[in-house]
Amino acid sequence: MATLAYAAPRTRRHRETRRHFLVYLGLAPFLVLAIFPILWMLITALKQDSDLYLSGANPFWFHLPPTWKNFDYLFHSTSYGDWIFVTMAVAFWVSMITILAAVPAGYALARLRLPFAENLGIGIFMTYLVPAIILFIPLSRVVSELQLQDSWWSLIVVYPTITIPFCTWLLMGFFKTVPFEIEEAAMVDGCSQLGALLRVVLPVSWPGIITAIIFSFTLSMQDFLYSLAFISVSDQKPVPLGVATELIRGDIYFWGSLMAGALIVGVPVAIVYNFFLDKFISGITGAAIK
């Protein structure tokens, strides 16, 4: 075997090149499929309006010079600034609530050897699977009881129903990997259980906590249904809802601004989510892999 490889380095490299070529060839359609829509959105966002509606002309070509007009329009003629503020504010408060609830819960489930801990953990996680589509009608009643209709605070109340179950589960898995010894050592040194949690366990757990914050951010930006159901006032809308409802007036679509507005928020979310995607996958499948 070894002599064979020695004797024929060229064929081996040849075969390697061929394999690479085949893999790239197989991946090419997937890449085009995945990326083309985003490129197309970008081209549209940078085009002048009349350049969008040229029958038969090559749509990839800028027949008129590219323009920032669509971005301008967003910020000066719509409530886009408000939508961005709402999106960020909602994501921020949702993350805070999620962390305050999910960190202690994940810790307790993972480390305190409580009776029924596993079942409680699974129970909390299963609520992640009760979809918005079943809950949005009763929750609309809850929102109106709380006098939060048409206010972005309603989203802060409902989004944690998605993020708390997910992040509790994620953090439970995370806390299981923190060695028990450091906590025991701290308690031998006179820390209370709470003291050990605050002074020893939390400081080494920040990667898990950051991950949970990122997911609270991205998951709350993925929603459409709740905002659609609860909010109809322009300056209270988060970006996806605002873009989808206010840049389409009757039959008139502001395609350039629509694409611009969608990309400004979509691309950063996609990039951040991308970095944490493996954590997301292992979060939801974690129990099955081990």
Partner: protein, 325 residues
Amino acid sequence: MRHGTGGSSSPETLVVSVGERSRGQSWWRTPTARRYLFGYTLLAPAILYVLLLVGVPFVFSLYLAMSDASVGAPVARFVGLENFKATLENATFYTALRNTLLFTIGAGIMKGVLGTTLAFLLLQPFRGRKVIRALVVVPFTLPIAVSVLGWKWMFDSQFSVINWALNKAHLIGAYGSPSWPVWLGEPSLALLSVMFVNVWRGFPFSAIVLLAGLTSIPPEIIDAAKVDGAPFLLRFRKVIVPMIAPILFIGSAFDTVFTLSDLSIVYLLTNVGPDGATEILPTLAYNTGIRGGALGRGAAISLFLFPLLLPAMILLLRTLRRKQY
């Protein structure tokens, strides 16, 4: 209850509890009890939140579904199964149910095929793998409402870039000719477009989940099967599939839940048109319950999704529990 728990079973607990009792302590002051108290206190916020805003609303939706509650009227009357009966007598409901099933199953199969192909491609070692992987998963990471708007523009009746490309490739005629597809304007094409966008968003998820499963198989196991002379298909069936089955179940359960409960693709892409041809249960529930203001009727419609979701949830629950113990 206070003494009974500590004193009965094993010798050590007996010693401990005797020792405690001699110091005049009761059960709830033992370290174990304090740990439990501490633990359940830490758990309380999360459990309360989930109970109050998932558990209670779920039960409340059962109640709503049996009432004539509407957005305007604060007091609702109990009407029994009236809403369910009315729903079952509504022809639109059957269109929605048929589309929901067709949509979920059809898109599920396509995502499975595309996802598996992509996973096996990404499993190969090659240069630039990380970058390509990051690019290929973009559809899944973009907020859904954002990408649907992009697709709506690409499916435009006149300026569709897809049609432009098909026309240049001489696969279809010019705009206005009968072979020019109006993607969102013809019932079957519209349903296909909706499905396609769902597949576009979901296939990276299937691929990544499958990839996570495949990479979790220790290579020794596959090597051992190779050494034993098992051909690829046999290895696939007897070694790879059983090992990644749990993760596949979980992945498809999640995907089914995402797909069944998503309204944004249909709502933004076709808004159930043309003529209600792309109506699905989520849009029907939304349009009846929120837009139409008939909360009770809407709740009843969305509850019809529950039996469809149930198999996925049970599958997931069983997989999770089996792995825990």
